[in-house]
């Protein structure tokens, strides 16, 4: 999997309430949700973001509720990958199991090297990130096999339990 897009950088503890505020939880249409992505912290985000873009963040990205709305909102706004120092686990699972967003954990050094507006190219399986705008090449990830496999297959629902067991035991 290869992703090319612009970076949107945030700090620690970007919680699900700022990614998509609770009042929108009665909405289940991803396109409607996307209009409010990151509304709680960055109201201009939806104006700037383009298809295939990447979020770079600090610790505990997605902390808070189990709302899958947060993943839909970000994906339908354009985000395809999130590089964070750590993820909150439900959000992390939701990215993977929907097959919509590739979550990758990064270290402090990678976090520091990236800025909002950088154009990056991400080679997921190879664990390679090219920062085109800076001529940099960084090592990141790669995510574990099961994570790559579920996303590559377009989400958990496309894999039956027997296959899932096989992938898990590899």
């Amino acid at each position: 999997m290869r992703i090319r897009g612009y970076v949107h950088k945030y700090g620690d503890k970007i919680d699900t309430d700022v990614i998509i505020p609770g009042v929108y939880l009665k909405e289940h249409d991803p396109k409607q949700l996307a209009k409010h992505a990151m509304e709680g912290i960055d109201p201009d985000f939806v104006k700037r973001v383009r298809e295939g873009d990447v979020i770079v963040a600090g610790r505990s990205f997605g902390v808070g509720s189990s709302r899958e709305h947060a993943v839909y909102a970000l994906r339908y706004a354009g985000i395809r990958a999130i590089l964070a120092k750590s993820f909150s686990r439900i959000f992390y699972r939701n990215c993977i199991n929907t097959g919509l967003i590739i979550p990758i954990e990064i270290g402090d050094d990678v976090y520091r090297s990236l800025e909002t507006g950088d154009l990056v190219e991400l080679y997921v399986e190879e664990g390679r990130l090219r920062v085109e705008s800076k001529g940099l090449e960084l090592k990141i990830g790669p995510p574990s096999r099961i994570v790559i496999e579920i996303i590559r297959r377009g989400g958990l629902l496309n894999i039956d339990p027997e296959e899932l067991k096989r992938i898990a035991s590899q």
Binding site: K13, D15, V63, E68, N94, L157
Partner: protein, 425 residues
């Protein structure tokens, strides 16, 4: 092995598992509500349409229950039609255990119902479409919150995939001072380990102090493990829990315990008499300080509600302070379930609340997540018995929300300032 490891080993048909391994485990119980349930059924329906499947059987239908709790009573047409959709899907897929608001023996917040109705048992792998599913770990189950797609998969296939988590041991000794509750302890723990402090891990509470806490108070601890990002919170079921479940369900569950030589990734110890009344200051549950450091901050509103802060024990605590006193600021009290509401009525608590001038609301999640029933305004300072105060969580991003124990919330309602409940006891 620890409790969590034992459960995952047994559910994945293995003799043992160790942290870091990925397992595919069978699921015992599933919960969905009027936000996640709608999402789950949308996922299932679109899967069915995509694959051209006419009739899809949910293998877990009889082990699943539905609670209407977030947007009830509906505040607008969209929430009302979500409820209709949820009802029609539950009946289409044969999910019979359905807690309708305003109709029946009991209804209210999903996690409260799990405890009150004894829907989860020791040793279960229980997954819920809500992050505070962790609460049910109080019964010795591995109770894990998940998103729509995860829950849909478990409903269809009866299994889920999990990374075996490391376990953190929280050892508790002693007993609380009268002005201190489990909420103060969990806030203190959150302050110590931070909001990412239990990422991908399970927090297991142990120690002699648990004996001195009832199920409500213990559930306050497991509930807020979510705010430490824990996969779950868990406790060994003791006689109190086993007898409670026996009474609720008619059969006594088998106990389950961590092995004496179980490995823990980290260990924290607390003596309960050393815990002070605590608050989490705006705008993160781990931004904690003792009440003494923020005493006197002027308050506009007090909110007593949610799965963590409006259990019967919590309402009794509020009543202890409000008895014979009047509230100085707007105070909303929303019991966590219909059963709690009725019991509060019987015990005269509702009388105490109404005489104090407070408002009593229906059992619903309400303003806890900023949905309705008292969302907060720009510039307001709120003391709340709920579990989250992220910016905008209860409404406005410009509001200042302090999370506190029911005792501290009630004391602050009486004085209009953040107040140590000890001063009114």
């Amino acid at each position: 092995m620890t409790l969590a490891e034992k459960i995952l080993a047994s559910k994945s048909g293995r003799r043992s598992v160790s942290p870091g391994e990925i397992v595919v485990a069978s699921v015992d119980r599933i919960m969905i509500h009027d936000v996640s349930g709608v999402g789950v059924f949308k996922v299932i329906e679109s899967y069915r349409a995509r694959k051209g499947i006419d009739s899809l059987k949910l293998v877990m239908a009889s082990k699943t229950w539905v609670a209407e709790d977030h947007f009830v009573p509906p505040s607008d047409r969209k929430s009302a039609s979500n409820i209709r959709f949820l009802e029609s899907m539950a009946s289409k897929y044969g999910i019979e255990r359905y807690y309708r608001y305003g109709a029946g023996e009991n209804y209210g917040i999903s996690h409260t119902l799990a405890l009150e109705e004894g829907l989860v048992r020791p040793g279960d792998l229980y997954i819920g479409g809500d992050s505070h599913t962790n609460t049910a770990g109080v019964f010795g189950a591995l109770a894990v919150g998940m998103g729509h797609t995860d829950v849909a998969y478990a409903l269809m296939h009866g299994v889920t995939w999990l990374r075996v988590p490391e376990t953190i041991k929280i050892h508790l000794e002693g007993s609380f001072k009268p002005s201190v509750m489990a909420k103060d302890l969990i806030l203190r723990i959150l302050g110590d380990i931070g909001s990412g402090g239990a990422d991908y891990r399970v927090m297991e509470f142990r120690g002699p102090a648990l004996k001195g806490m009832n199920i409500d108070e213990r559930a306050t601890l497991t509930n807020m493990t979510t705010e430490a990002s824990a996969k779950s919170g868990i406790m060994e079921p003791d006689d109190l829990v086993l007898s409670y479940l026996e009474e609720k369900t008619g059969s006594r569950p088998r106990p389950i315990a961590s092995d004496p030589d179980a490995w823990y990734v980290d260990e924290h110890q607390y003596r309960l008499e050393e815990i002070e009344p605590m608050v989490a200051k705006p705008s993160s549950p781990d931004n904690v300080s003792p009440v003494s450091e923020v005493e006197g901050v002027e308050v506009d509103r007090v909110y007593v509600g949610s799965c963590i802060g409006a259990k019967l024990t919590d309402l009794r605590a509020v009543a202890r302070i409000l008895k014979g006193r009047r509230v100085k600021v707007r105070t909303e009290i929303l019991p966590a379930s219909h059963r709690i509401y009725r019991q509060a009525l019987k015990e005269g608590l509702i009388d105490i609340f109404t005489e104090s001038g407070a408002l009593i609301g229906p059992p619903t999640c309400g303003a806890c997540f900023g949905g309705h029933m008292g969302v907060v305004a720009d510039g307001e300072t709120v003391v709340s018995t709920t579990n989250r105060n992220y910016p905008g969580r209860m409404g406005s991003k410009e509001a200042r929300v302090y999370l506190a124990s029911p005792l501290t919330a009630a004391a602050s309602a009486v004085t209009g300032r953040i107040t140590d409940p000890g001063e009114l006891m």
